[in-house]
């Protein structure tokens, strides 16, 4: 993914990438990246959490306004706790 960002930037597109492994992003130096403290496979945090996902997307988009780079910022908000388990209300 980081390599794609480099090449699309060369083609004239401004890119901003979610970073799931910060050290990997530090090594690849993509133009703009937002490190998130989320589980691998959940780049926008948590399912069915629209307002939380919106905050992540806003933070990622805000990097497009950076004047110079590379930019690597942290999104330091943990995802919300998820719903209930199938046992809730049963087996007490």
């Amino acid at each position: 993914m980081g390599a794609l960002g480099h090449y699309l930037e060369r083609e004239g597109f401004a890119t901003a990438s979610i970073s799931l492994i910060r050290r990997q992003t530090e090594a690849m130096k993509p133009p703009r990246a937002l490190w998130v403290p989320f589980e691998l496979g959940r780049p926008f945090g948590a399912p069915n959490e629209g307002e939380f996902q919106r905050r992540v997307v806003r933070a990622l988009l805000s990097l497009i306004e950076a004047k110079s780079g590379p930019v690597l910022e942290d999104f330091d908000e943990d995802p919300p706790e998820q719903g209930t388990t199938p046992r809730d209300g049963f087996a007490r």
């Binding site: 993914m1 980081g2 390599a3 794609l4 960002g5 480099h6 090449y7 699309l8 930037e9 060369r10 083609e11 004239g12 597109f13 401004a14 890119t15 901003a16 990438s17 979610i18 970073s19 799931l20 492994i21 910060r22 050290r23 990997q24 090594a27 690849m28 130096k29 993509p30 133009p31 703009r32 403290p37 589980e39 691998l40 496979g41 959940r42 780049p43 926008f44 945090g45 948590a46 399912p47 069915n48 629209g50 996902q53 919106r54 992540v56 997307v57 806003r58 990622l60 988009l61 805000s62 990097l63 497009i64 306004e65 950076a66 110079s68 780079g69 590379p70």
Partner: protein
């Protein structure tokens, strides 16, 4: 095309052993310089998403194995049409099963566009198969760039899994 090196990963202590073993063996492209295209106010940008989750529509011709090719996702694709074809024991898939937006936030972009925070959402978005070799994916960048230009896209959000 580029050199590779093995690197140490962050949040090492939070990953299971098998994940650490996998990540420790990954070879990553190294770029001496970072390419840069100027951005600008978000409210004036036209945005497309690119995922490496192997997302495609049910009924699309499946990703050719080891080709580095990408699939095209219309922005108005219903979430029930989309499947994640990327198989790996190294990341969570349950979030996507519940809500496509946790991987490909199409609904969130549309909301920000409707609120005037975002200029516009592209007509098409794109997905590569995760685990593809970078050099294979990069071979398709010229075609991808032409499609993005035809859609007047100036901004791309990269969405790994």
């Amino acid at each position: 095309m580029f050199n590779t090196e093995t690197i140490e990963m962050a949040r090492w202590e939070e990953l299971p052993d098998y994940e650490r073993d996998y990540l420790a063996g990954m070879k990553l492209p190294v770029f001496e310089e970072t390419a840069w295209s100027p951005g600008g106010p978000v409210a004036e940008r036209r945005v497309a998403l690119i995922s490496t989750a192997g997302i495609e529509r049910r009924g699309d011709k499946p990703y050719p194995f080891f080709s580095g090719e990408f699939q095209v996702i219309p922005t108005d694709a219903d979430s029930s049409e989309l499947v994640m074809s990327h198989l790996s024991p190294n990341f969570d898939r349950t979030g996507f099963q519940q809500d496509v937006n946790v991987v490909l936030p199409l609904d969130r972009l549309r909301e920000l566009e409707a609120d005037g925070e975002l200029g516009s959402v592209a007509k098409y978005h794109y997905a590569f198969m995760g685990g593809s070799r970078p050099e294979d994916m990069i071979a398709h960048v010229p075609e991808l760039a032409n499609l993005l230009r035809a859609d007047n896209v100036d901004t791309v959000l990269m969405c790994p899994v």
